[in-house]
């Protein structure tokens, strides 16, 4: 009897473990569930295959971008017999910082995925995970069609293609400017007097939310200011040691930010607000200016905005420095492809690039999603949002563009500048000390990267 009981227990346990194993033995299921499989052939039809496409268009504001992607996917599926794309939408920060990073470490990245230029592309290409695209671009005849592929290029090889671009500058509320009697500034002195006039009327001159983890928000303004004062070469030299954070242009920038805080030109609640809250203070008419990237157009023209028809844009005003006339802009987010794709999958990748990166989609990017195209040659902008047209003009009239400083320095330097600028906003550090700390961090980071 006891033996039987024992046998019964063993049998039950064996059945349970066998059943538990079943869950992960069906490739089709796991493919759909975790989205990291590289696709495979089903037994019924050897020609049909799945490919995972990881994108980041999951927000309500990105509906139009998703629509463009979905249509491209459909077209590509009809071009490549047997191909089925599995769309895998993941939140951008989660994909960039956690999911894709882990997959890259293990070598299980999906065949097509959202990719950032700069350090991400450099690291992944070094590990041999990214597909070089030079030959494909030549074959498709679009090798020279992009505005700027610098952020996706490592040692002459192109590893990614930007979906759209951005520029940064001041958005301003025309009505509030009129109320205060301020005019659109073209020089630093004019900006200061505009801020003074606005403040005198009881209007917050600059909306900003740079609290919590959003120290990068103030750095957009800081970046444009030190490049204006010191020229674009200044930031290119930090990581090589050719230039220093203790440069008079950087110290002067920190002093001007300190002045803007003390005179309350920047919202005094800046450290208690996150980026979207700062943005909302502008588009609900509570503040007169917002220093932000062109991606803000969607929020400013969105349903909750009260300033849709009263918003203008101007680039960072001239300061009398070597960087006058330059604008912060770049093309840093797009798609990358796995180095492991072969045969059919490679054909699918080529078809996807051909169908996604073309004039038609780029025009739609500008008109429907209000984003700056990544490819040249869009001349007919009829139907585009008036604000994005103004931004386009600001971009067109600039002497040139410079990339955000964080694509040129080590992540540690970026994070230290965020914390240091938060301290400056909170009145906890002097400009000279801030510059010294930045240089110390830069020296450490440079020593580590050698």
């Amino acid at each position: 009897m006891k033996k039987r009981l024992l046998l019964l227990i063993v049998a039950v346990l064996a059945t349970m473990s066998a059943l538990a194993g079943c869950g992960s033995n069906t490739p089709a299921d796991s493919n759909a569930a975790n989205g990291t499989e590289q696709g495979g052939k089903t037994t019924e039809d050897v020609k049909s295959f799945n490919m995972v496409l990881r994108h980041i268009h999951i927000r309500d504001t990105a509906k139009k971008s998703l629509e463009i992607l979905q249509q491209t996917v459909k077209k590509t599926e009809s071009d490549v017999p047997g191909l089925t794309f599995v769309l895998d939408g993941v939140e951008d920060a989660v994909n960039r910082d956690v999911k894709l990073k882990a997959e890259m470490a293990a070598g299980t990245q999906p065949p097509v995925f959202s990719l950032f230029g700069g350090a991400d592309t450099r690291n992944y290409s070094k590990a041999g995970r990214l597909l070089p695209l030079n030959d494909i671009l030549k074959e498709l005849g679009i090798a020279d069609s992009f505005f700027d592929l610098r952020e996706f290029t490592v040692d002459g090889q192109i590893y990614g293609l930007p979906e759209s671009g951005y520029i940064e500058g001041f958005f301003y509320n025309k009505k509030l400017f009129e109320q205060a009697g301020a005019k659109v500034p073209t020089t630093w002195d004019e900006l200061v007097s505009a801020m003074e006039l606005l403040k005198a009327k009881g209007i917050t001159p600059i909306a900003m939310g740079a609290g919590s983890g959003d120290g990068w928000v103030v750095n957009m303004l800081v970046n444009s200011m030190f490049v204006a004062l010191g020229g674009p070469k200044l930031q290119e030299g930090f990581a090589t040691g050719a230039t220093k954070w203790t440069d008079p242009a950087v110290i002067e920038t920190f002093k001007r930010i300190q002045m803007m805080v003390e005179k309350q030109y920047i919202d005094p609640n800046v450290l208690g607000l996150k980026f979207p809250q700062g943005q909302a203070n502008f588009y609900t008419g509570k503040a007169a200016m917002l220093f932000d990237g062109s991606w803000a157009v969607n929020a400013i023209s969105g349903e909750s905005s009260t300033v849709k028809d009263d918003t203008g844009f101007f680039r960072f005003p001239d300061v009398g420095g070597p960087g006058d006339g330059y604008i912060n802009g770049g093309w840093s987010n797009g798609y990358g492809f796995s180095a492991t794709v072969k045969d059919q999958e490679l054909t699918a990748v080529k078809a996807f690039i051909k169908n996604f990166y073309n004039q038609e989609n780029q025009k739609r990017t500008l008109i429907e999603t209000s984003q700056i195209p990544s490819m040249k040659g869009i001349s007919d902008v009829q139907g585009a949002n008036a604000l994005i047209q103004t931004i386009g003009e600001a971009q067109g009239s600039a002497k040139g563009a410079f990339p955000a400083f964080d694509s040129l320095v080590q992540p540690k330097v970026k994070v230290t500048l965020e914390a240091t600028m938060q301290q400056l906003l909170g009145g906890k550090i002097e400009p000279e000390k801030a510059a010294e700390r930045m240089q110390k961090t830069q020296d450490e980071a440079n020593a580590e990267s050698k």
Partner: protein, 294 residues
């Protein structure tokens, strides 16, 4: 049944699955963490062995020590403010006759909410302009008391500590209440006849009798304080300028913002060692005080 105990195969059937899970999800990661803590590794390329460099770096890293101190505040706040408050409220509620279930439910409610929701709710409460707290202060004429609670170095950590206590106090109160109700009535009645009433009864009878539950509450509060991460990430992300960082959030930042997985693993090892040490000290104090009272 004795047969099963003597049969090695039966043992294996019961023990091996649990051992496998323990080894795979506990021991292997622990040793891997130790291994990576001795390397410089960005999470993608091959790790480079650097010996004890990461541990040496910890000693001179001011930001790490700020986060270490914040963990200490967390522990001290839990032990000396939160737990006494829990005991006080439990004793008061235990003597209430009417609406007892209502009180229990009300205090327990926050602990069934997710930390994410609680973080967001309290962010609204602490918001500079529209926040409930500042509005309340303005209404009662204490305008000069208003602060940017989560954006001010002086108040950010305290604001998070209060939110964390609000979340967990109810859970512990229900735990302590159950212990109070489990004390035999005869014991309390005998004490009352000997003259122990009111606070005397609470101090001399109730608290010593629920001591085991208080010890568990303290231990859970300490380990909870050492593990704190989610609430910091949601409410302040360690800001402003790293003043509300705790060790776990600092470790997370090193790994996922700075891609310095070697250093992050070294911090993880230090957190584990420190928590073990704290638990040992707590155990020692607990044994000593029990001996002293017995």
């Amino acid at each position: 049944m004795n047969n099963i105990q003597r049969n090695h195969w039966a043992y294996a059937v019961f023990v091996v699955p649990a051992m496998l899970i323990y080894v795979t999800f506990y021991l292997v990661p622990l040793f891997q963490s130790l291994q990576y803590s001795l390397t410089q590794w960005n999470g993608i390329n091959d790790p480079v062995f650097v010996g004890l460099d990461n541990f040496a770096k910890v000693l001179t890293d001011d930001s790490f020590w700020i986060s270490f101190n914040n963990n200490m505040y967390f522990v001290l706040f839990s032990v000396f403010i939160q737990v006494p408050f829990i005991i006080l409220i439990s004793i008061i509620v235990s003597s209430v006759r009417r609406f007892l279930d209502f009180y229990k439910l009300t205090v327990f409610m926050p602990s069934i909410l997710s930390t994410a929701s609680i973080g967001v709710i309290w962010q609204f409460i602490y918001a500079p302009e529209a926040g409930l707290l500042n509005q309340l202060l303005r209404t009662i004429g204490l305008e000069h008391w208003t602060r940017i609670w989560l954006g001010d170095e002086a108040t950010a950590m305290l604001a998070v500590l209060l939110t964390n206590s609000w979340q967990w106090t109810g859970f512990y109160i229900v735990l302590v209440l159950a212990a109070i109700f489990a004390i035999p009535k005869e014991m309390l009645e005998a004490g009352e006849m000997d003259g122990a009433t009111g606070w005397k009864k609470a101090w001399l009878l109730t608290i010593p009798l629920i001591r085991p539950v208080i010890v568990v509450t303290l231990l859970l509060s300490i380990t909870g304080a050492m593990k704190a991460l989610d609430i910091i990430l949601i409410m302040t992300k360690g800001g402003p300028f790293g003043s509300s960082e705790v060790m776990a959030s600092y470790m997370y930042k090193q790994a996922y913002t700075l891609s310095d997985f070697g250093y992050a693993n070294a911090i993880a090892v230090i957190i584990s060692l420190f928590t073990a040490l704290l638990a040992l000290v707590f155990h020692y104090i607990n044994v000593k005080t029990r001996e002293a009272t017995e």
